[in-house]
């Protein structure tokens, strides 16, 4: 198809429907049909099935092509006529742009603090400019580089673990057929989300305690260890303790969005898979997982940008002096060396650094997604 053709398509909405949109409509139609079917208490087959199956069996190349078509931007030229035609949309958008500008972008003016020797009593306008000195200072500090490494490492571990566990949990929970236990499991799973880190850390420390902590008890009982181990004396373990604490606290909560996405999968896909002889696991693996792939990719992308935001509470509460070299995060570093010494410039510079790294990561991830033809953020 040429660009011209697409443009033409846009003007005739009925024609430009892509396979996936058709599928949505078909789903709506089939749901309605089946409601009728059930209300007369029969489970008749439906004629669309073959089409659905066809769609499910398209090769990935074809699917990609279809998707590319769907994602192709309707080409609308920015001219006076378009603006006049879209006046209402524009009017609605203006307050949002103003709002976004004031609340998210205007305060970025404060970033100049990072280029100043900021003194609260002189304010933003009165403080002395020092160029890049603050950045030079933080990159010259060994402890900052450690903090950066730790933050990145914990960020990546958290990202991977939280994805694997949340998706895994959603998939497995989806396979539970009994409604009572399913609801119970889901309700229980998100409870830890409501506990603050102070409480959670207390629980983690209890579990890992050398003195009758349940983990040590089990490890000793099954002869994996001869005597209880102090988990907090091993620098290699710290990042993982943080990672799994996060898993414990957030898996249920994070899985909500996947569970919701799973329900959007066309039920007929499962039937098609069943006809192919897929078992429970096969359906989960070949239908459910691919069905939520777009959601996974977008969330992954969003979270890659947040990889440096690992916070400070849990690390601060779990650490001890001997493992400080692996536990200190950028936020803790800023608390201690920046704000703790009354130096807001340092904190701001570290914040800018984090933002820049985030945007670079996001850009890289997005480019990678673009190159491989996966779902992407922008």
């Amino acid at each position: 198809m040429t660009d011209k053709d697409k443009e033409k398509d846009n003007r005739t909405p009925e024609e430009k429907k892509t396979a996936e949109e058709l599928a949505v409509e078909m789903k709506v139609a089939s749901i309605k049909r089946r409601q009728l079917a059930y209300s007369s208490d029969s489970s008749s087959g439906n004629p669309e099935k073959t089409k659905e199956e066809l769609a499910a069996r398209l090769s990935w190349k074809e699917k990609r092509k279809l998707k590319a078509e769907r994602l192709a931007e309707p080409k609308v030229e920015l001219n006076r006529r378009t603006l006049r035609r879209q006046k209402e949309l524009l009017l609605i958008t203006i307050p949002f742009v103003l709002y976004g500008f004031i609340f998210y972008y205007l305060p970025l003016g404060g970033w100049i603090m990072a280029f100043q020797d900021y003194e609260p009593k002189d304010g933003l306008l009165g403080s002395e400019f020092v160029g890049l000195d603050v950045f030079r200072y933080i990159f010259g500090e060994e402890s900052f580089l450690y903090a950066f490494r730790n933050t990145l490492a914990m960020g990546v571990i958290n990202l991977v673990l939280s994805f694997v566990f949340a998706i895994g949990f959603a998939l497995l929970l989806n396979e539970v057929r009994l409604r009572g236990p399913k609801k119970f499991a889901q309700t229980v799973s998100y409870l830890p989300h409501f506990l603050s880190w102070i409480i959670v850390v207390g629980i983690v420390r209890d579990m890992l305690s050398m003195d009758h902590g349940i983990v040590n008890d089990l490890l000793v009982r099954f002869d994996i260890l001869d005597k209880p181990m102090n988990f907090f004396s091993k620098p290699d373990l710290f990042w993982w303790i943080v990672g799994f604490s996060n898993v414990w606290k957030e898996t249920g909560w994070n899985s909500i969005i996947y569970l919701a996405a799973i329900t959007a999968i066309n039920p007929e896909m499962y039937e098609a898979a069943a006809l192919d002889g897929a078992g429970r696991f096969g359906k989960m693996w070949h239908v459910t997982l691919p069905g939520i792939k777009p959601t996974i990719f977008i969330l992954l992308m969003i979270n890659i940008g947040n990889v440096l935001n690992v916070g400070f509470e849990i690390q601060y509460l779990l650490t001890n002096a001997m493992i400080k070299k692996v536990s200190e995060t950028i936020d803790i570093w800023v608390l201690y060396w920046g704000i703790g010494q009354g130096d807001f410039s340092v904190g701001t510079a570290a914040g800018i650094f984090k933002s820049v790294v985030s945007i670079i990561l996001i850009y890289l991830a997005n480019s990678a997604a673009k190159a491989t033809g996966e779902e992407r953020l922008f």
Partner: protein, 546 residues
């Protein structure tokens, strides 16, 4: 129709919001309300607190106290300074210097002429120690100002604590040196490895969490017979500062801990335990001994042990020294801390009213109300004018609910310790000897008597007058990384905090110790000592009136 209702809603919202705003500065009748922020964790009083109402009747003022929550003092103060929005009163704690630098505080000495209670609260020399570079006083110290004499039966400070059952088992022996102390603990642990609840006893534990790692770090100072200067030893003869971290006494102390660690006498989790866990451990009564400041553990763990009925598992203090012949100085007189205090901010609209309130708080009537409560309700008076309490009153005084509803110490306002202004009673109940004896466990009484003591304090040498430079921690606490000495101090602290636990656990003590010293000396120790020495000299000069 719809529009009117929307408008009505908007007006209602506006009124609600406004009234919320007004509540912040209400001037109900003649009673004034001041706001106060204390950059320390604490508990808010409940609305209608009885003692607070009573104080308001007398002084015409009520102060709404807000405490530090979920941030550090510097952060909280930093935000205030950036916004130039302060409460009327502030105890800025670690943020004091930031407040002074920002010009956020009013000079107390420019307003005190009408208030002799304030002006005479400290001596001329003491006030001079509080003055900042510009010669003004921006904060009134609240702690360590003793009226008459200190009668506290409780040793509130650092000591080597040991359970009375251990001493009793050994027949109340003389315990003076480090070797004596650990020998005793080893012997007891060997003979009684199991606690009453069936768990193993923990012979000795050390708290290392964050700033509380002084439990591991500062004993060399005390073992050498010095008082708690905190960051250095000051030789009373030569008046020279000495770094206690690298003395022979320090090395012997850590070597001893290392030996005990390998004998299994030291809690293997000592360096990674949190403060909560530490308190929990002590509260079970399983721990035979440890070094700590009493205020850090006593008010919680000691009470928990008593409540659990483990009456032979409470602790008494021992003044351990490195070798016989060294005079210990664990107990010192209350310390005047001039590194901060109560300040009035530039946001205060009624400075005179604020000063008058501080002054009123220092009268006998109000001081008694603040620390003893309401007569007839919280305490009773006998024929000789001595205050006493019933069992119920004593229970009330440690009940969080009751306190929030009934007691109002305004703890971060100036106060007199030692004796009440009536000259008969102690400044607060737990310092009143009669109260103390009433509450004393028989096991503890027996133990104290065995050592010829009546109170905890008498277990230690009597305090000597504080030297003019004492305590040096009030200077080192205010060091910032802006000076070479401050930078060195920060680095030293970091190194010690990381290395000392390793030294204690090392398989090869000598090698680890050498390695530690090597890292330690990377900091500019001399710069630090020079700044400390300069401060010692300055304080001596101030005290001698130069």
């Amino acid at each position: 129709m719809k529009k009117t209702s929307t408008r009505l809603l908007a007006i209602m919202l506006a009124v609600t919001l406004l009234s919320g705003l007004m509540a912040g500065c209400d001037v109900l009748g003649k009673e004034k309300t001041f706001e106060m922020f204390i950059a320390m964790p604490g508990t808010e009083l409940n609305e209608g607190n009885k003692a607070q109402e009573k104080i308001a009747e007398i002084t015409g003022v009520k102060v709404k106290e807000t405490w530090l929550t979920g941030q550090t003092a510097e952060e909280a103060i930093g935000v205030m300074v950036a916004a130039k929005d302060y409460p009327d009163f502030i105890e800025a704690s670690d943020g004091y210097q930031i407040m002074v630098d920002a010009g956020a505080l009013i000079a107390i000495d420019e307003h005190w002429d009408k208030y002799p209670n304030i002006k005479n609260y400290l001596t001329e020399e003491q006030w001079n120690m509080c003055r900042k570079e510009d010669g003004h006083i921006y904060a009134i110290p609240q702690f360590g100002i003793v009226n008459d004499r200190d009668v506290s039966p409780i040793h509130n400070d650092e000591a080597w604590w040991i359970q009375t059952r251990v001493l009793k088992w050994a027949g109340y022996p003389e315990v003076t040196t480090l070797d004596d102390y650990f020998k005793l603990i080893e012997d007891y642990a060997a003979a009684n490895p199991t606690h009453v609840d069936g768990t193993d006893i923990i012979p000795y534990t050390i708290l290392c969490e964050d700033w509380r790692y002084y439990c591991l770090e500062n004993p060399p100072l005390f073992l050498a017979g010095s008082p708690n200067d905190g960051s250095v030893i000051v030789d009373p003869e030569t008046r020279q500062v000495i770094d206690y971290n690298t003395t022979d006494i320090a090395k012997d102390y850590f070597k001893k801990l290392n030996e005990e660690y390998h004998k299994g006498m030291i809690d293997p989790e000592f360096f990674s335990q949190s403060y909560d866990e530490y308190i929990a451990k002590i509260s079970t009564g399983r721990v035979l001994g440890f070094v700590d400041q009493f205020w850090n553990w006593g008010y919680t763990a000691q009470d928990a042990i008593k409540a659990a009925g483990l009456t032979d598992c409470t602790y008494v203090p021992l003044g351990i020294v490195a070798e016989p012949g060294i005079e210990e100085r664990y107990h010192n007189e209350p310390v005047l801390d001039v590194s901060g205090g109560l300040s009035i901010t530039t946001s205060c609209k009624d400075i005179d009213g604020a000063m008058k309130f501080i002054s009123d708080l220092l009268t006998e009537e109000v001081l008694t109300l603040r620390f003893w409560g309401i007569e007839g309700v919280d305490y009773l008076v006998d024929d000789d004018g001595l205050f006493y309490r019933t069992e119920e009153m004593r229970a009330n005084a440690i009940d969080a609910n009751y306190k929030a509803d009934n007691l109002c110490p305004y703890a971060y306002f100036p106060q007199y310790e030692g004796m009440n202004l009536d000259g008969k009673n102690a400044w607060r109940p737990d310092n009143q000897p009669s109260e103390f004896f009433e509450d004393l466990l028989p096991e503890v009484k027996e133990c104290l008597e065995a050592y010829g003591a009546k109170t905890y304090v008498e277990m230690l040498n009597p305090s000597k007058p504080n030297e003019p430079w004492f305590p040096m921690w009030s200077f080192s606490n205010d060091l910032t990384t802006d000076t070479p000495g401050g930078m060195a101090w920060a680095k030293m602290t970091e190194t010690k905090h990381e290395w000392l636990p390793r030294v204690v656990m090392a398989d090869d003590f000598e090698a680890e110790w050498e390695e530690y010293l090597e890292v330690y000396y990377r900091a500019d120790i001399d710069a630090f000592l020079a700044e400390m020495q300069a401060e010692v000299d300055r304080r001596i000069a101030v005290a001698e009136g130069n």
